[in-house]
C-alpha cells in the first residue's frame, strides 16, 4: 500500500491528468477497432485475424485520397466506404463458404487474408511509413503542454461514430435484423431475415469501423504495412476482457485498458506499459473468463 502511495505521490497531478486524456483518446480509437471485432464475432462466431489489416488498408486509403484531394474528411469517408465494400467482398468469397464449418477454418482464412493484405501493402506502398496531415492543427495549453485539438477531436469523433452505430443497432430495421440474427440465426431465417446478407453487412460495418479508426489514427502515428498488428492484438485483449459480442463491454474495456497503460507509462516506458494489458487479460481469464460484460446468448 505504501509502495503504491509512494508511486502516486511521485507523479504530479498534471501528469496524471494529461495521461488520463491521452488514455481516453487512445481508448476511443481502440474502442472503435474493437467494436468491429466484437460485432463480427458476436454475430457469426468468426475471429477476424484480418481486422488489423482492414485498419491498415483504411489508413492507406486515407493517405491516397488525402494526397489526391487534400481533404481529410473526404479521405475518412472514402476510406470507410471503400474498405466496407472490400470487407463485404472478402466475406462473400472467403467466409460465406465456410459457414457452419469448424471454427478453425475461419481462423485460418482470416489469418491467411491478413498475411496477403500485409504483403500487398508492402508491395504497393513500400516500407517507408506515410503520413497524413492533421485536419486540425491548432493546440491549446494544458498545464505545461501544448495539447493538440486534433486528439480531442479524434476522441469525440470516435465516440460519435460508436454512438451513432449503437442507435442504429437499437432502432433501425437493420439493427433489429442484426440483433435477431446474433441471438438465433435459425429463427431469424424463419422470420424472413436474409441472414447470409446480414452477415456480409455486419462484416462490412466492422471493416468500415476499422478503416475509420485507421484514418483517424494516421496523423497521430505513421502509416505502415504492419501498423495493424499492434492494434489488433490490443483489440483482441479488449474484446476478451470486455466480453465477446458485447459492444458496451468493448468500449468500457478499451478505455479501461488504455487508461491503465497511459498511467503505467508515467513510470515505465510505453513499450513496457503494454504489460498491464496482458495482466488485465490474464486476470480476466482467471476470474471471469467470459469477460466482464459477456452477452447471455
Amino acid at each position: 500500500m505504501d509502495l503504491i502511495l509512494g508511486f502516486v505521490q511521485s507523479a504530479p497531478v498534471e501528469l496524471i491528468i494529461v495521461q488520463t486524456i491521452n488514455g481516453i483518446v487512445t481508448g476511443m480509437i481502440l474502442a472503435l477497432v474493437a467494436s468491429g471485432l466484437t460485432l463480427i464475432f458476436g454475430i457469426m462466431d468468426v475471429v477476424n485475424f484480418a481486422h488489423g489489416e482492414l485498419f491498415m488498408l483504411g489508413a492507406y486509403c486515407g493517405v491516397v485520397v488525402f494526397a489526391l484531394t487534400g481533404n481529410f474528411w473526404l479521405a475518412l469517408l472514402t476510406a470507410a466506404f471503400l474498405v466496407a465494400l472490400f470487407g463485404a467482398a472478402l466475406q462473400i468469397v472467403t467466409l460465406r463458404p465456410l459457414v457452419g464449418r469448424d471454427p478453425l477454418t475461419t481462423i485460418l482464412a482470416t489469418f491467411g487474408t491478413s498475411l496477403i493484405l500485409q504483403n500487398y501493402a508492402l508491395w504497393q506502398f513500400g516500407p517507408v511509413s506515410r503520413k497524413i496531415g492533421e485536419p486540425i492543427t491548432s493546440q491549446f495549453t494544458l498545464f505545461y503542454l501544448q495539447y493538440p485539438w486534433y486528439r480531442i477531436a479524434v476522441a469525440l469523433l470516435s465516440a460519435a461514430i460508436i454512438g451513432a452505430f449503437y442507435l442504429f443497432l437499437k432502432h433501425s430495421k437493420f439493427g433489429i435484423w442484426i440483433r435477431a440474427t446474433t441471438q438465433d440465426r435459425l429463427m431469424a431465417q424463419a422470420m424472413g431475415i436474409p441472414v447470409p446478407w446480414v452477415l456480409t453487412g455486419v462484416f462490412a460495418f466492422g471493416a468500415a469501423l476499422a478503416a475509420a479508426s485507421g484514418v483517424l489514427f494516421a496523423p497521430l502515428g505513421g502509416v505502415y504495412h504492419t501498423m495493424g498488428l499492434d492494434w489488433v492484438l490490443k483489440a483482441f485483449i479488449v474484446v476478451v476482457v470486455g466480453g465477446m459480442g458485447s459492444l458496451g463491454g468493448s468500449i468500457v474495456a478499451a478505455i479501461f485498458i488504455s487508461l491503465l497503460e497511459a498511467y503505467a507509462s508515467i513510470w515505465v516506458s510505453p513499450a513496457q506499459a503494454v504489460i498491464v494489458s496482458f495482466v488485465a487479460l490474464i486476470l480476466t481469464l482467471l476470474f471471469r473468463p467470459t469477460g466482464l460484460f459477456a452477452t447471455p446468448k
Binding site: I176, Q183, Q189, A190, G192
Partner: protein, 243 residues
C-alpha cells in the same frame, strides 16, 4: 374423406431426412390444403418436428419432394420461404429473448411491400387477439412467461401474413386455460383462411381443431383419416399415442 379439389397448398412426398447418420424420416408423405387445419400426431421421437423443419428448409431432405403452391421448394432457404407465405413456430417457441415484444413482431413486420397502413392494421389485429402482448410491448421477450412467449411466437408468425403456419406443439407445458386460448387462436386463424399444419401430442385438442389427421410412428405416416372419424378412445389412438 374427399380428395382436395384444387392443388394442395403444401405437398410432401416420400421425405427422408437424416441428422448425421440418424435416419429420422423414412419416407413421409402428406399434404395440406388451402385454409385447412391438418393435425400431425405421434409420440416423442417419431419425427413430427423434423417433418416441419424439413418443410421449412431448416434441415435438408436427403430424398423426396416438397411442393408449395405447386412449385418444388426443397433446397430453398428458409428466409425465402418465410417471405412467400410459410411461417414456422418451433417447439420451444424460440422468441428473441433480448428483443422487446415489439421488436420481435417487427422481425416479421418489416418486410418489403407492406404499407404503413397495413402495418398498423396487422399490429392492431394482433394486439386485439393478444392483449397481454400489447401490455408488454416494450418488455424484453425473455421476461415473458411461457404462455406469453407462445402467444408472441404465434403473433410473430402472423406478422408474415402467411398462407400456412407450421405449428409445433403449441400447447406443451401450458396450463389448461392457455391451452384453450391456443385452440381459439387456431380456430381464428382458420377462419381467416390460414392453413395450419399442427404437430401435437394433445389428442383432444388436435381432433377438435383439425379437419384431417396424420399419425406418425418411427419416421413414417401410419394412419391418415378425417378427424371426425377418430375419437380419443379409438384403438388407433391408443396404439400410436397411448401406452
Amino acid at each position: 374423406m374427399s380428395a382436395p379439389a384444387a392443388e394442395p397448398l403444401v405437398q410432401v412426398e416420400d421425405l427422408h431426412t437424416y441428422y448425421g447418420k440418424s435416419h429420422i424420416l423414412h419416407g413421409v408423405s402428406l399434404h395440406v390444403g388451402r385454409g385447412e387445419v391438418v393435425g400431425l400426431l405421434g409420440r416423442n421421437g417419431v419425427g413430427k418436428s423434423t417433418t416441419l423443419k424439413t418443410i421449412m428448409g431448416l434441415v435438408p431432405p436427403a430424398q423426396g419432394s416438397i411442393r408449395y403452391e405447386g412449385r418444388s421448394i426443397a433446397g430453398t432457404p428458409p428466409h425465402v420461404l418465410a417471405r412467400h407465405g410459410i411461417a414456422y413456430v418451433p417447439e420451444d417457441r424460440r422468441i428473441f429473448r433480448l428483443l422487446t415484444v415489439m421488436e420481435n413482431l417487427r422481425t416479421g413486420l418489416d418486410r418489403r411491400g407492406v404499407t404503413e397502413a397495413r402495418r398498423r392494421e396487422l399490429l392492431e389485429q394482433v394486439f386485439a387477439s393478444f392483449p397481454v402482448l400489447a401490455e408488454r410491448r416494450n418488455q424484453a421477450g425473455g421476461t415473458l412467461s411461457g404462455g406469453e412467449q407462445q402467444m408472441l411466437a404465434i403473433a410473430r408468425a402472423m406478422m408474415l401474413e402467411p398462407r400456412i403456419i407450421l405449428l409445433d406443439e403449441p400447447t406443451e407445458g401450458l396450463m389448461p386455460r392457455m391451452v384453450a386460448q391456443i385452440r381459439e387462436i387456431v380456430d381464428t386463424l382458420q377462419r381467416q383462411g390460414v392453413a395450419i399444419l399442427l404437430v401435437e401430442q394433445n389428442v383432444p385438442l388436435t381432433l377438435a381443431a383439425s379437419r384431417r389427421i396424420y399419425i406418425m410412428e418411427k419416421g413414417v405416416v401410419r394412419h391418415h383419416c378425417a378427424a371426425a372419424e377418430l375419437s380419443v378412445h379409438d384403438p388407433i389412438i391408443q396404439q400410436y399415442l397411448g401406452v
